[in-house]
């Protein structure tokens, strides 16, 4: 905060007319790289995500019986910055004592899950244990686990994994590499750690949510 003014991104580019670090020096919404054109990714438009089967996140898990697959998203949380502050007592008090798994009212009813029940969120890759937060703000078919929950604070062991400690949100997500991440050396499409590289799509995965059979810490 300088002079009563809070920090904001890109003020240099806007106010002092410093060119953006792109090929043209301007902001790009249209990406004219061949690979982007080829994959129809040149404009930020809505594309439905593939059906769960195409992801293959549930091949083994589904074999074991009847269950309902949900599309699981792991956006940034309200009570922490990535993993920082998550295990802080104040923040945990304000966030139900853990980072819950948000479910829609309809799905929760179908799965026999009530608000605040312990649930396990799992797929072929891993498992995460949390409490359920049943809410009308979640669309049907979707569940949300905010970024980087802390698995060693107040979380019971996983029963679907034989009474073992479960992981965080990274345990059931994986990186889906899109071909257009492979292009590089073209203006702003150059690898830079945490800026340009395989990112967001691993946040979109498919899981099974099940009520925990036994609560063992």
């Amino acid at each position: 905060m300088t002079d009563g003014r809070a920090y904001a991104a890109y003020t240099y580019n806007v106010e002092r007319l410093v060119p953006w670090r792109t090929l043209t020096g301007r902001q790009h919404f249209y990406l004219d790289h061949e690979l982007y054109l080829a994959y129809g990714e040149y404009l930020p438009t809505y594309k439905p995500s593939p059906r769960p089967e195409a992801y293959g996140d549930l091949r083994e898990t589904l074999k074991s019986g009847e269950a309902m697959a949900l599309n699981c998203l792991t956006p940034h949380g309200k009570w922490h910055i990535h993993s920082t502050y998550m295990e802080n007592h104040r923040m945990l008090t304000l966030s139900r004592g853990c980072e819950p798994c948000w479910l829609s009212e309809a799905d929760a009813a179908k799965l026999g899950i009530q608000d605040n029940d312990w649930v396990e969120v799992y797929n072929d890759h891993g498992v995460y244990c949390a409490r359920a937060a049943v809410s009308s703000r979640i669309p049907r078919g979707v569940c949300i686990v905010y970024h980087v929950p802390e698995r060693t604070v107040g979380i019971p062991k996983s029963q679907v994994r034989g009474n073992r400690r479960a992981g965080g949100h990274n345990s059931f997500t994986r990186i889906h590499l899109k071909p257009n991440y492979l292009c590089g050396g073209y203006g702003q499409f150059s690898y830079h750690f945490n800026y340009w590289g395989p990112i967001a799509p691993q946040r979109d995965t498919h899981v099974i949510v099940k009520k925990m059979t036994k609560v063992i810490f």
Binding site: K78, D115, V134, R140, R151, V153, G154, F217
Partner: protein, 516 residues
Amino acid sequence: MDVRAQISMVFHLDKCIGCHTCSVACKNIWTDRKGAEYQWWNNVETKPGTGYPGKWEDQEIYKGGWEREGAGSIQLKGAGKAKGLANIFHNPHLPSVEDYYEPFTYNYLNLIEAPPGDDQPTARPVSLITGKPIDVKMGPNWDDDLGGSPDYARNDPNLEALTPAEREAMFQLERMAFFYLPRICNHCLNPGCVASCPSGAIYKRGEDGIVLINQKVCRAWRMCVTACPYKKSYYNWHSGKSEKCLLCYPRLEAGHAPACMHSCVGRIRYLGVLLYDADRIQRAASAPDGEITRAHLDLILDPFDDQVIAAAQRNGVPDSTLKSAQNSPTYKFVKQWGMALPLHPEFRTLPMLFYVPPLLPVMASVTQTDGAQKERLNPIAKTWTDDWLYDTSTEELWGTIEQARFPLKYLASLFSGGDEKAVAQPLKKLMAVRIYRRWKTVGDIDESRVDEVLKDTGLSRDSAEAVYYLTALAKFQDRFVIPPAHREQALEMLEFTGDTRGSQGFGFLERPERGA
């Protein structure tokens, strides 16, 4: 005319982002103590929701506030002289710890001290009262962001004003909306807490209207907890005293804004002096149901009026306070622009914290369809077995207030005791300012239309500009106009300095621990 000054607050709900920074700031300063862990003098609720303590607005349960009797006199609903003394051995309307939540921490030490094993240890939640492991079932904002909506949001007492269909529509995903409602003690003009205290420990400060509990005089009768309809007086189970928000008066006296306001990320909070006529308090508090908000706002006097100034001076209101009253942002929002309303005026405590009601997204409309639209969708589209259509095409840039996602009835139940016209007024003004600014910055709106909406809502271009400034650009000194406490006399405000001559420090020297 008995003119007095009150430090009052305005919260601009459109700007609240629900970050709870205010709650944490308050907690860190005031209630990070044994017995007070569960107290959140500042808390932020999600509406619709049941809040903290659960369903506090339902006075059938908690019996807070005043009720008007036939002849126009008012009585405390669950306390008072007769009821209070009759129930002194056991107060049937006292919320218990379950109504708030059992405060908890974690056995963090276990992470370090657990014996070696083949798995990672975990820090189990333990009660901050008994120290034993507990199952966390409730928290100070359990229904945050509509969490647990089947149990909480759908049981919001304010939904009673709505028909079942309207209620259901509020929980349809496409129509769903919520807003945050930060709450602190309202430092009421007709406080239930003061009136109910058998020991006379609670008082309102004449100079600035802050309502305080004298900890030495409080004798743990707990009637204030019942009588405050906002549940903003809390019982400390460890010290055996009730405690409440003190509007950070030690900060105010030093010229600082209260911690919750200072730290507010959304800059939704304004603080300033209002002058009011104390002679008419009782009449306003006992006004008939529909008239109470008007009677309340009528108590607030014009700080530029010569007569008011003269009366204030006769009454010992310092000139510096009068000057603050003239610059007060709360006077602008509450009286000059008429954009802020008290929360639940029907509780009749005449709260001095006002809210600018939220102008929620009003663009889209939702209609039920026969499912034919779905046929026309791209075959790869994901669809739900749903026949609601979300329509964003509207003739108006922002839609109209009647189309708001929150039915006006709901907002009216919160801010005007059910009077829809009264809440529509500030919303229309918010909309008018937006239209005016759109015309000014983007220019795709007709000038004649701008003038028309401004005229309709009683604003001028200047006042619209002023509203815009105070909403969007206001600096610290604009948002918090704190009357000087006259630091040179501040010590006397607390204690006569002669009392402590020759000793060290001031005030409360005994540790609040119980031996017997």
